[in-house]
């Protein structure tokens, strides 16, 4: 059996779908095939510009059969790439000839237990794993969350009717995104606002699709979750009716061992703290949310070039070392000279940007045109929600790679906003905006323009001055 197409995109996550969608825009008459492991694919909807180069978006989970006719989809898995012959083989044995190939095979959750499968440890990654979480949660009284990134922070905030034990390796929460000051801001807000109980029911603006369950339980090969994954999922445990308690946080700690109890009664976890002391606690199960490894569980006739972190190395046009093979999203590692204010983080936003870029680049290659690298790679930008607050991260928001050669300017209003400017030689190099600050676009321009802010001193964040239109 064999098929043929001009553009073949592998992976039904945000990167893959963004790639296929931009191909459909630039080359509406070309044959485009999206190979996806699950019949549910993710696409970006409800794109809202937060600033000029920064977008907030929802991710829509959609059955492949519902996708428009702009490109074709096929549910199967990649097994082998024959780059010399320009064709691939799928697990089901199908041969697909392509002219241009894009690998968007995402990542697999890093589990602290390594590759060993432990039924008491779940990695949150895709729709299937959320359903598993839900099932386990329904009878659980104590849950241990390991990790300090976006998903761990969201879970710690969203889980209800259950005791949450949150184990983080750092000395403050949400360290992937925020500094210790902002973590303290959240900490105070969690205690004082008790937002967990009073959080209003938020209408989801986007169109809702009924969740289509995968026909069979494939072992965590679905596409990654979208940023709003927890909204449509009931995350309540078995302590209904009891007073809701705040998550208990274990700083600078790691799991040293896990001992399963008999009769599915959970596990005894031994934590090791940084000072060398140990602590034991019992929980029903463990959620491991400590990031992802690039997922490349297929073979290739010629060696693909990988970066140190295990990702497929790509250049600024999202090309791999193999001719006519591109890669985008979590599976790849940016291997071009990075712009002053950009760095790679495996996030939804970058998956979408890389996917679109790969699509544009492939379309250009097929037409013999030259395109510029998208400007979004000039400035790191991420929008998320942590502990109920909107969070915008721009540039080197935590002084990344600036050593100690920078200063920070902060404005903080308890339970309302936390604004941090990272300044170097009077120039804005990065910003962290928590709360409804309306400063995203201004900061974006200040960073990109490199305007000297020295003359304004601390007044650039003077609460009595609005700087939004000053730089118009």
């Amino acid at each position: 059996m064999s098929r043929k197409c001009e553009f073949l995109v592998v992976g039904g996550g945000i990167a893959g779908v963004s790639c296929a969608e931009s191909l459909a825009i630039y080359r509406p008459n070309a044959s485009i095939l999206l190979l996806t492991e699950s019949s549910i694919v993710k696409s970006v909807t409800n794109l809202v510009p937060v600033a000029r180069y920064l977008h907030k978006f929802d991710v829509r989970e959609q059955d492949v059969s519902e996708m428009g006719a702009s490109f074709q989809t096929l549910v199967d898995r990649l097994d082998h790439i024959n780059s010399r012959e320009h064709c691939i083989r799928t697990k089901a044995g199908l041969e697909i000839k392509y002219r241009y190939l894009c690998l968007c095979t995402g990542g697999t959750p890093k589990l602290f237990s390594g590759k060993v499968v432990n039924p008491l440890v779940i990695g949150i990654r895709d729709t299937d794993s959320v359903q598993l979480l839900q099932r386990k949660l329904a009878t659980a009284k104590d849950v241990l969350i390991l990790g300090n990134g976006g998903i761990a922070s969201e879970l710690a905030y969203e889980l209800k009717d259950v005791n949450v034990h949150w184990v983080v390796k750092d000395s403050h929460i949400s360290a992937t995104f925020v500094d210790p000051g902002a973590a303290e801001f959240f900490h105070i807000a969690m205690n004082e606002c008790n937002a967990k109980d009073s959080s209003p029911v938020v209408a989801i603006k986007r169109m809702r699709y009924s969740e289509v369950l995968p026909k069979e339980q494939t072992n965590n090969h679905g596409a990654a979750l979208g940023p709003d994954w927890h909204r449509s999922v009931d995350l309540s445990g078995a302590r209904e009716g009891e007073e809701n308690r705040l998550p208990k946080i274990y700083y600078k700690s790691r799991i040293s061992s896990v001992q399963d109890l008999a009769d599915d009664a959970g596990a005894i976890v031994k934590l090791e703290h940084e000072d060398g002391s140990f602590q034991q606690l019992t929980c029903d199960f463990i959620v491991s949310a400590t990031g992802v490894w690039p997922n490349t569980d297929y073979t290739c006739d010629s060696p693909l070039q990988f970066s140190d972190d295990g990702g497929i190395s790509v250049d600024e046009m999202m090309r791999t070392n193999l001719v006519d093979v591109f890669a985008a999203g979590d599976v790849c590692t940016a291997n071009w000279p990075a712009a002053m204010h950009w760095f790679q983080m495996r996030l939804w936003t970058q998956a979408r940007q890389m996917g679109s870029m790969a699509g544009r680049s492939m379309a250009a290659a097929s037409e013999g045109e030259s395109v510029y690298q998208d400007f979004c790679f000039e400035l790191f930008g991420h929008v998320t929600k942590l502990f109920g607050y909107p969070v915008v991260l721009l540039g080197r928001f935590n002084g990344q790679d600036l050593g100690r050669d920078y200063e920070i300017l902060v404005r903080c209003t308890r339970n309302k906003e936390y604004i941090k400017f990272v300044l170097q030689n009077g120039r804005l190099r990065g910003a962290m905006l928590i709360g409804n600050t309306d400063l995203a676009e201004t900061c974006e321009n200040l960073i990109l323009n490199g305007i000297d802010l020295e003359p304004y001193g601390d007044d650039i964040l003077n609460p009595d001055i609005d700087i939004e239109d000053y730089f118009d």
Binding site: P180, Y372, E407, V410, L448, P455, N462, P463, D466, E468
Partner: protein, 506 residues
């Protein structure tokens, strides 16, 4: 900046009429001409309060009050007439937003300053009319707004309405609306109703940096955030029935669409690149200004010419942008009402530029002179019979489109002979904000977060309020106050008022 007690400062200001104040030489050092500003009683209070606050010792640091900025502009080489502050003036980078100034092209020392144009080059407003009425649109306005939003592309290029590759972009930068016309996205008559016919002929894409092009490309055909928006509006009041009918506005309730957008990141990069070049040129040519932000170069220097050519390319970029949105708007309306844009009479009433520098002829001291007119947050408002306005408006004067802030009312004014004489044919551009306007009372609280931040080992500064306001000032410059002032001062004339029924944010 000269720091004097408030009462001493006031000696340099003189109220010359109900709506105009004079700023005398000496208010700031080296003023070549006088300054002036237009206000009504409420705006006057805001203007003076802002000055008063800046007179407190160590008050507002790097943010100068608008009236000081007007005076600093008056000290630039080659300025003629007066440095003029319009009623919506507020503090901005270099020039205040709402400040216009003209420079003699025949004076070899005259300068061009990017701060006098602004970062969002050719930010402007376009107004489309329809023959629909509120009762037609009201029931479907949500769907209509939604479909406008659906059709206005976000992010990547979309289906050919906008230039997508490097070559397309170069052509669009050179051709402005002629590019949109060639590609079939606008009507030939749209051009007639644009300043400069939607194309600045001196545009040279070769003078635009690669970074600017890269920064601009993904944004073509997009609205943008912040102040950029499209609105479906209905005519709320007609002040000048005859002029309004020349614009195709017959009665109250008629539906129009306002599009507010500019060159966005592209313009920002062009301005930023020029500022860097001009700082060098200033050293070489020994040009001194009162404020470092007023970086400028002689009009005839390489830097001055390069900037004007790049600025023109950015202006063309903005027109292509507004044209793409015009196309999308027409499509959305036609689809919703199951007809054609033609049958809906969806003509462009006019398209104005707010942030731009142009070569124009004006009378100065009784003689006609060729001037480089900087308008930042200011709209050209030429009087009836002026050769540069379209045939349709020869008798009414040029339409001036004034957008409020999103969600408030907007106006159409017309240019007047008095404006031509007093303000080089310029008027206001919209609502404005005074320097100090705290959105809400903020109770700053740092103790706990600072304790935690200390562990980073980084120098930390904290923002703090320095102005002690006796009362929370309502310092917003409302568009109605602004427009009424322009009308009363005679520098433009009220014609139509519109109110929004649906807003489309970028």
């Amino acid at each position: 900046m000269v720091v004097r007690p408030y009462n001493d400062e006031l000696r340099y200001l003189e109220k010359v009429s109900d709506h105009c104040w004079r700023i005398k030489k000496g208010f700031q050092p080296n003023m070549n001409v006088e300054g002036c500003f237009y206000v009504n009683s409420r705006l006057e209070r805001l203007m003076l309060e802002e000055l008063k606050n800046s007179c407190r010792p160590g008050a507002v640091g790097g943010f100068l009050p608008g009236v000081k900025q007007i005076a600093n502009v008056a000290a630039l080489p080659g300025i003629v007439g007066r440095s003029i502050g319009l009623p919506d003036i507020h503090s901005g980078y270099g020039f205040a937003i709402g400040n216009m100034a003209a420079f003699d092209m025949n004076d070899p020392l005259s300068v061009v300053s990017p701060g006098g144009v602004g970062f969002d080059i050719n930010c402007g407003v376009r107004l489309l009319r329809t023959n629909l009425y509120e009762k037609d649109v009201q029931p479907v306005k949500e769907q209509l707004a939604q479909s406008l939003f659906d059709h206005i592309p976000v992010g990547v290029g979309s289906k050919g309405i906008i230039p997508m590759n490097a070559r397309d972009l170069e052509e669009a930068l050179e051709m402005g609306m002629d590019w949109s016309l060639r590609e079939g996205y606008v009507w030939a008559e749209d051009k007639e109703h644009c300043e400069e016919y939607g194309r600045m002929l001196n545009a040279d894409p070769a003078k635009v940096s690669m970074r600017a092009k890269k920064r601009g490309l993904p944004q073509l055909g997009t609205l943008g955030a912040g102040n950029h928006y499209a609105e479906i509006q209905v005519v709320d009041e007609i002040y000048d029935k005859w002029s309004a009918s020349k614009m195709g506005i017959e009665e109250k309730g008629q539906v129009v669409v306002m599009i507010h957008s500019g060159s966005r990141g592209f313009g920002h990069q062009v301005a930023t690149d020029a500022l860097v070049q001009m700082e060098k040129a200033m050293k070489r040519d020994k040009i001194e200004t009162n404020d470092r932000q007023l970086a400028c170069a002689r009009i005839n220097s390489v830097e001055g010419q390069d900037y004007l050519k790049a600025m023109a390319a950015a202006a063309n970029f903005a027109w292509v942008n507004r044209s793409s949105m015009t196309f999308l708007t027409r499509q959305a309306f036609a689809k919703m009402f199951n007809t054609t844009p033609d049958d809906l009479d969806m003509h462009v009433i006019y398209d104005v530029s707010h942030n731009i520098a142009k070569v124009e002829n004006h009378m100065v001291d009784g003689k006609e002179r060729k001037l480089l007119v900087h308008r930042k947050g200011s709209t050209r408002a030429f009087p009836p019979h002026h050769p540069l306005i379209p045939v349709d408006y020869q008798l009414t004067g040029q339409p001036v489109l004034v957008g409020g802030t999103m969600g408030t009312c907007s106006y159409v004014l017309t240019g007047t002979e008095q404006g031509m004489q007093e303000t080089f044919g310029s008027t206001c551009h919209g609502a404005g904000r005074a320097l100090s306007r705290a959105k809400s009372r903020r109770n700053l609280d740092y103790k706990d977060v600072l304790d935690k931040l200390d562990q980073l080992g980084i120098a930390i500064r904290v923002a703090s309020p320095k102005l002690v306001m006796e009362e929370a000032p309502e310092s917003y410059k409302d568009v109605t106050d602004v427009v009424d002032t322009c009308h009363a001062a005679g520098i433009s004339k009220k014609c139509i008022k519109m109110r929004p029924i649906a807003v489309i944010k970028g």
